[in-house]
Symmetry: C2
């Protein structure tokens, strides 16, 4: 015999409405004991909320789907935590999927989230996806509201919330220049990363505006991961640079680890500045001057757009460009 | 007009079976272009896979739900990544939810995952949930297979995969004792943590077996987080301990940061050993002797049980106790 919501209400001695509210994670004034009892009975009788039927009527599941590219990258795990706080404050549950920076996973996981009934999507796409037409098609035809966070497809008609990477990179490189550095290396991200390219552009802009030469060996192409930072350490040791601008935090960890392992002192022997300010709690011995991208700010702005569009049922394309903040620490030697 | 699977098949010029396989994330021999086209059409016409109807027939969604307590803790983010690899290799998608160590979130999120149609659950419960009867009730009545990972309710009839924390702690404290240390402090986890209590038990066992005194001020109660480690640094500075055993990696980061900020050298001034070996890539300047809990081993064993039970449709309660591994680094001074 199939158990209905009526049976559960009867056995729990509450109204059908109460059972519905509890099982749908809606706010309702019943005790935690009653809630537990309702969930207990629902599980006992293998009662599964009919999501599709419910969606057709209520059009709301109070769940947000979040796609991120690399859960182990501390910038993203920090962002996830902030997004979750904002969701919870607004009575949304958050379901997270991780693409491992793979374009085919982006596709499958976005479809998975949509088919499981989420009210909206927060998307940090894989780098490869930013230049992929089938991803653009998929995203442009999504049946629910969504926001591209941190990384975006420039030409897409979509909500976007991201930091101004050109500005941020330019400012932090100018900080090095003000401290008397002229020979400045750049540890870049892979060329297919839009954010990475913008940071490199900011570096090149700052160098050009100050009439400083960018020698061929001033650029080391990394891949945003720890290991490429470590390799960059060895590379830059053999150049004449006095300072290095690293395009993300994970690579900065790597380069600092290399310098430490090889008894090269920061900032006495070499100065370092970095994009991302999520490292310093993990760093023992060195605090790096950083261009901070506040994950809380990113989370709040993204969720704000998404929640409004879910409530309004209107999809307006909105772009919010956030300004990163220079955090000065002791990793830059003053050459003046 | 409501679009059916038949309409999509016709427009994509493929069979209904192909559309069904693609939209359900099943393996099928069609090109990526065809897949993209099918997803594109499904999204275009707002076609949502009827999960409940499908579940009734196929009884499988090829999705696993994972509950973790703290996404920012690098032990858990490493575990998530390993679980995801194993899931992907076995053609399962992974959906992650984060409880923020809150018992009420555990309840809501487990119910959310079950109601959204996952084939099985991997649960790392909040510490508070391990002693909560309503959680036991909820879990004992889950309609799908599940495995408790890393943390477990001792009396629960359930699959469990975890490391032997008493053994691990005892071994690493014995390592300190072999190096001549007799005054050994313990930076504990909160008392409600089963794993933490076991680690403290291992410490006490090792001290007792070697007839070493545990003075009142040798125990500092932490909470598994960075800040409590930092506080513990100041605390232990005012005791006579020559070595400290820290019960997890995040607290170890904190205590190392404190010692560094206060010019206390490891291991010259104080020796440190730690549970968890996920830190050393982040640590600049110090590598800590650690009791490694291999997250890959934990992921493989947990998924192995879960996948088998999903396939067999049988829920046998299996317990796998893994042995952690001592990784010797340069954070212990030899007093012999």
């Amino acid at each position: 015999m199939k158990v209905t919501i009526k049976d559960i209400a009867k056995e729990a001695n509450v109204s059908i409405t109460t059972v519905s509210l509890v099982l749908n994670n809606k706010k309702c004034r019943v005790s935690q004991e009653t809630k537990d009892r309702i969930f207990y009975l629902a599980n006992k009788y293998n009662y599964v909320v009919n999501l599709n039927a419910r969606n057709l009527v209520k059009q709301k599941t109070s769940t947000i789907g979040l796609l991120i590219p690399d859960i182990e990258n501390i910038f993203f795990s920090s962002l996830v935590k902030q997004i979750e706080y904002v969701c919870r404050e607004n009575n949304y549950s958050l379901v997270i999927v991780n693409s491992d920076e793979k374009i085919e996973n982006d596709k499958n996981l976005i479809n998975l989230l949509v088919s499981r009934g989420v009210d909206g999507l927060l998307l940090v796409l894989s780098n490869d996806s930013l230049n992929d037409e089938s991803i653009s098609n998929l995203i442009n035809n999504l049946p629910i509201p969504y926001v591209m966070i941190d990384r975006y497809i420039p030409e897409a008609n979509s909500n976007k919330v991201y930091f101004d990477n050109v500005l941020g990179a330019s400012r932090i490189v100018n900080h090095l220049i003000k401290n008397g550095h002229k020979k400045i290396g750049c540890l870049t991200s892979p060329t297919y990363s839009v954010n990475g390219s913008h940071r490199v552009k900011g570096y090149l802009n700052a160098m050009e505006e100050n009439s400083l030469e960018v020698k061929d060996d001033y650029i080391f192409q990394g891949n945003f991961q720890f290991e490429s930072g470590y390799e960059a350490g060895e590379y830059f040791k053999n150049t004449d640079v006095t300072a290095i601008f690293s395009c993300n935090g994970m690579m900065t960890l790597g380069i600092c680890k290399y310098f430490n392992d090889n008894h090269i002192l920061i900032p006495d022997d070499i100065s370092i500045v970095t994009y991302d300010n999520v490292l310093n709690r993990y760093m023992i011995g060195t605090s790096i001057t950083a261009m901070e991208q506040n994950t809380s700010l990113l989370a709040e702005n993204s969720c704000d757009i998404l929640f409004k569009q879910i409530d309004d049922k209107a999809i307006n394309n909105k772009t919010i460009i956030l300004t990163p903040k220079l955090i000065i620490n002791d990793s830059v030697k003053d050459l003046n």
